[in-house]
Amino acid sequence: MTNSWTDIKNADVVLIMGGNAAEAHPCGFKWVTEAKHHNKARLIVVDPRFTRSASVSDFYCPIRAGTDTAYLLGIINYLLTNDKIHREYVANYTDVSFIVKEGFAFDEQEGVYSGFNANNRTYNRDTWDYEIGPDGFVVRDTTLENPRTVYELLKKHVARYTPEMVERICGSPKDKFLKVCEMISSTANGEKSMTIMYALGWTQHSHGSQNIRTAAMIQLLLGNQGIPGGGVNALRGHSNVQGLTDIGLLSQSTPGYLGQPRDSEPTLAAHMANRNFRPLQQNSVSFWQNYKKFYVSLLKSMYGANATAENDFGYEWLPKLDKVYDTLQMFELVYQGQINGFVCQGFNPLLSVPNKGKMIAGLSKLKFLVSIDPLETDTAKFWENHGEANPVDPSKIQTEVFMLPATCFAEDEGSFTNSSRTINWRWKAADGPGEARNDIAVMSELFLRIRELYQKEGGKVPDPIIKVDWNYKDPKLPTADELMREINGKAVTDIPDPADATKTLYKAGQQIASFAQLRDDGSTSSACWIYTGAYTERGNMTARRDNSDPSGKNVFGNWGFAWPANRRILYNRASADPSGKAWSERKSYITWNGKTWSGPDVPDYGPTLAPERNAGPYIMNAEGVARFFARKLMAEGPFPEHYEPFESPVANALHPKMSTNPAARVFKADGAAFGTSKDFPYVATTYRLTEHFHWWTKTNKLNAITQPEFFVEISPELAKEKNISNGQWVKVSSNRGSVKGKAVISKRISSLMVDGKKIHHVGMPIHYGFIGETKKAIGVNSLTPYVGDANTQTPEYKAFLVNIEPLSGPAIS
């Protein structure tokens, strides 16, 4: 989230799209209710299903699953053609006036950007950039008259997304679409704000990143970014998915979103050479210029005293990536028999990764599998026969499997980071059952045992293991307190005060209070620079429990610690106009008082950086302003474009020859497993129920009682067409597999006219499998396609093709 759960209360318009907060995030959704009650906020829901969020909305608009980018580009076209934009914000805080390099182009017929190689579906991104002047800064035209400005190019790019075209692609009736546009555009004035709330309904597409980017562009046009009640707010799924991602357990990044080294970067100098943070405007801050300080501090936390300036702080010991090892890539390698061992630490990939058939085949090729989990998982028991729900022959599966008992949340201490980026400490209430151990104990023992083996018997390449700093009071059981201190970072040697060299800022061993004080000479350590400030000499800031709201703006600055720097709204400098005054009294947040920036939050800006310096509010960007033109940063092009899901009932109405995302993650064999609308005419989508959490609560009695079994949701129209009655057993098939369940006939699920063709949706909940208290089910990911987003490789769970047939009897007793 750029903003926070509690900040939603400040919104005047709420757009929920690609998510269903009322059911999937009910206790966060209460802030929408508060906004409706206190601000007379209007709630808009755009979804293929009339969800419970939709049922309490002020306006609902249906959409065909998988066409959100087209819808959002249609909104941008509306805002630009009707001049419903916050002009001063857009002119000063975005790149609209930047000139784009000659040679950059989008071919509207072919559906590709300049630099495309049709033979291998790859892009050369050389032309995807701004024009740079002789002074080294970007060339601008503040009159916006030059046809090569970002503004003109964007306007031309989105002109194709007329309300008629949106209706043709998305199936959303034109009048409803226009009503949504009109409601949204009421916030383009600095007086009112709109928040956008999304979840996996936007990310889980082969073009998911572009959905979110397009939403951010809308917020920039409206001037809704960086202000109370605004922002682009990801409603993250798991309680600590934000934290685990922040802390670097993601294939391509280290803690704090620095780059995991690649083969092309054998030294720290080479790693830095690939990262050019030179400011693109004269006064830009370009804060990433501090990157090396964060990297060296991380290496100091990783290797301790073994990391020295002479050995590049141990950079060489880190593993180097030859490619991105995301979940799809991983299980492709497992399927090919190229991965031998696998550890699932609280993860149930058999049911949560697409194409269960491929997963079973892959897991069966593993030499060993280890599950560290409080619960028995379907993955840990993938080799066990459960009839139709898991029809395997154990005697044919040679995988050695361990199931290790872990403690659960209630039996462990430490912090979780919520979707608002707020880190909250948790306390332990009981020991785990039986011999359960916490994750820290399990990982410590495993690592130390392997290390001891290398120390005793030798082995290949031992140094990277031996040199890891494991200097904890009890190496076999470091405490959460110790680890959070290490994450925050400390002074390794005495650090002089930069303002007065005769003074000492930190004595060796003291906790660092701010990432601005980290250094690249090895004198500081910090495992995750964005968490610096979370555990200072004042104590554990994540354990703070002061829930006062001094400003009355629902800002709880003394509750926990929000990264970065305890900031609750990102980019909040943009809540003031270029001179530092609030855009409006209602939305006043961070303002300039002549000497400093102040307000109810930590300013996202140099605290004394005067407005006259005109440094731009987006200090992380080399531009100093926000980007409509993504340069080389997005795999499928600098502007978003509508691409159909890989399984779609229609060809792309704009460029049928390039129907799908040319840069998406597809493996060869999986391409052959895609189905067509000839055999699979219906658009399927998967979703969560409010009573369940993923494949986890099926082991909880209470949750199992409330939603005991898998079902298939279809419209009355489709039910009639297929002669299916309510509660009847049906079989749903894709080109990869099939599932069985009872039909739930409901008006909640839409049937739409798309390009003159009637399109029916089939909706299925995700939560069922063969382990637990709920009725056994085959698992909905037996159907889903193995294809991922071009930038994040997130699988396309939310739009694929199926067929549905009535069955005579119960499929699984």
Partner: protein, 199 residues
């Protein structure tokens, strides 16, 4: 700062005092004693309260875990009730149908209580000791690492990459366990590492 002082505890104290004195002032001194003797004690009154966070979605609602026994005092504790933390500024005491069932997760029949081992081709798990499990897994991992780690590419670039091992980290793990896990897996050279951010 780390003291868990709750509004609930505060109200419990003052509320009882006000009620007591009001009844006393009306001259029901004897009735008050009788009432106190007859009434069941509030089931949470002797419970230990512990602040925690719901493990499910990323609203990360504050929770109060009620236990018999206080693990912080070295006692054996059994959690018997969970409710929303009224002090938490995000959820303000509420829990959704998922979180409201969290006690059944703590006490689920599917909890794993001891290390289990399934031999190749077997149709069952068999209990083993932690020592056996850790020794065996460490051995399997070391053997595979020794056989497959790539120290240098053909171009002579040091890459220290162990490409034949996969690791998925769970997102109900704490930040602290996450950092320790990062140290361990990247220290070993594992490159196939991911979490639930995409799933």
């Amino acid at each position: 700062m780390n003291v868990q002082f709750s509004r609930r505890q505060f109200l419990k104290g003052t509320g009882a005092g006000v009620a007591g004195s009001a009844i006393g002032a009306f001259g029901f001194g004897g009735a008050e004693v009788a009432l106190a003797q007859a009434a069941h004690s509030f089931k949470l009154s002797k419970a230990t309260e512990t602040r925690n966070t719901c493990p499910y979605c990323s609203v990360s609602c504050g929770m109060i875990l009620y236990s018999r026994g206080d693990v912080k005092k070295g006692e054996k504790a059994e959690i018997f009730h969970i409710e929303g933390d009224v002090d938490n500024p995000v959820n303000r005491g509420t829990l959704c149908p998922k979180g409201a069932g969290a006690l059944d997760f703590v006490h689920s029949k599917q909890r794993v209580t001891r290390p289990m081992h399934r031999k190749p081709g077997s149709d069952k798990f068999e209990p083993v000791s932690w020592d056996f499990a850790m020794e065996r897994i460490a051995k399997l991992m070391k053997e595979d690492r020794d056989a497959n780690i790539i120290e240098k590419t053909r171009d002579g670039v040091t890459v220290n990459r162990w490409p034949t091992m996969g690791f998925l980290a769970g997102c109900a793990t704490s930040n602290e366990a996450g950092w320790l896990t990062w140290k361990a897996v990247r220290g070993l050279g594992i490159v196939a590492v991911d979490n639930q951010a995409r799933i």
